[in-house]
């Protein structure tokens, strides 16, 4: 019986490069941007070719790396964010997102008087 997984030494060696080349943090991914502007990131196959690895190894490294990117604390932050923002919207609507800017403007304006 076998089970495919990447050895930790291989994972540690290539993780940062695989993640940097992948689409985990997407900058200018959207398709309608000008071709010279677009940075879609590389597919697992392209990363494998660039690093001289098997595509399946790249896929495993990328998937484990993405899962490991943030530690368990981020889950708690996600829960807090959603609860806070959802409740704020129920109370104040879109102003829950925009209000702070108008409030800052008022303060600035009051300061000039």
């Amino acid at each position: 019986m076998s089970f495919f997984f990447v050895e930790p030494e291989v994972y540690k060696k290539y993780k940062d490069r695989v993640l940097a080349m992948s689409q985990s943090i997407q900058v200018n991914y959207v398709e309608h941007l000008a071709p010279e502007k677009r940075k879609p990131g590389y597919s697992d196959k392209q990363i494998a070719e660039a690093l001289g690895l098997d595509m399946r190894v790249v896929r495993e490294i990328r998937c484990v790396g993405e899962r490991e990117f943030y530690d368990i604390d981020e889950w708690e932050k996600a829960t807090e964010f959603k609860e806070r923002q959802c409740r704020a919207y129920a109370e104040r609507g879109v102003a829950s997102a925009t209000g702070k800017y108008f409030a800052a403007k008022k303060v600035k304006k009051a300061g000039k008087k």
Binding site: Q23, S24, I25, Q26, V27, N28, Y29, V30, E31, H32, L33, K37, P40, S43, D44, K45, R59, R62, C63, E66, R67, F69, Y70, I72, E74, W75, K77, A78, T79, F81, K82, E83, Q85, C86, R87, Y89, A90, E91, V94, S96, A97, T98, K100, Y101
Partner: protein, 288 residues
């Protein structure tokens, strides 16, 4: 119309749209299979169905107006999934194959072994003219805003709709906010440079830069699902104290994650905060 009467592809399309509308779709469109060249290799229509000639996209079944108003974030974590629109697309696949006699493949709503979509539904929806890409990421329909999409890939040569003429995002309100404050509602809610997932820039009324932290967004949208399970399980396995291990395994987070995992391949989004503040389609979210 007979199965052999392919001289009138428009009639096939009209009938398919009628079936989609009867099934609850709010929008429908056809994308050209050749237009998916921007998709990564292996994730284009012909990679899933050799000989494919069209992609039929349906959209709808978005959260209800009341869902958006609830102050309880957990509510939308459990109620808003893509399974209704996906079920409709599967029904249409059966229709195409049985009534018209052409191959029709449902683009699976889940992800493949590498955590990637089989074929990007966002790209398909955009290429079918159902909506356009937003700064926050989701495809926005001009009338309804955020909605779920499903697609079937078929050898039936349907007439193509193509891209929408104008971009839905940025909305006029967002453009005004950008000009005044250098941000938009979605970016303000979830800024990537302050613990959030989104970044970007507008210029001359268009999106010219975008940033998206997919790893963080995955935690927010799939937190109580497989990713959360893997994290919590790892924590539990590493915990040497039996009593503490018990507390982890029976915790609300772990328990909720197990409940959510009963949705195996349904796209289950658990964070909507960027879309909650989006003005596109807001008229449909404001009731009495």
């Amino acid at each position: 119309m007979t199965d052999a009467d392919i001289s009138n592809p428009r009639a096939y399309k009209d009938e398919l749209i009628e079936q989609a509308t009867r099934g609850g779709a709010l929008v429908a469109g056809v994308a050209d299979v050749e237009a998916f060249h921007m998709a990564p290799e292996g994730h284009r229509p012909t990679d899933l169905l050799p000989g494919a000639r069209a992609v039929f996209v349906v959209g709808g079944a978005q959260p209800r107006a009341a869902d958006w108003r609830s102050p309880n974030a957990e509510h939308m974590e459990t109620t808003s999934t893509s399974d209704r629109i996906s079920a409709l697309a599967l029904k249409l696949c059966h229709y195409v194959e049985r009534k018209f006699g052409y191959y029709a493949l449902l683009n699976p709503p889940g992800v493949d072994r590498g955590g990637q979509p089989f074929m990007s539904l966002s790209l398909a929806a955009e290429l079918a003219g159902c909506g356009t890409r937003s700064l926050a990421g989701p495809i926005l329909n001009r009338e309804y805003g955020f909605m779920y999409y499903a697609a079937l890939i078929t050898t039936l040569p349907l007439p193509v709709d193509g891209l929408a003429q104008e971009s839905v995002c940025p909305a006029p309100e967002c453009l005004s906010m950008w000009e005044a404050e250098g941000t938009t509602p979605c970016l303000a809610v979830c800024p990537i440079d302050n613990g959030g997932c989104l970044g970007g820039r507008l210029e001359n009324g268009k999106i010219v830069d975008s940033q998206y932290d997919r790893a963080r967004c995955t935690i927010r949208t799939n937190g109580n699902w497989v990713p959360g399970f893997q994290k919590a399980l790892g924590l539990a396995l590493d915990e040497p104290d039996g009593e503490r291990r018990k507390m982890i395994l029976n915790s609300t987070m772990f328990t909720r994650t197990l409940w959510s995992m009963t949705y195996s391949n349904v796209s289950q989004a658990q964070c909507f905060e960027c879309m909650r503040v989006c003005p596109v389609g807001a008229t449909h979210r404001n009731l009495n």
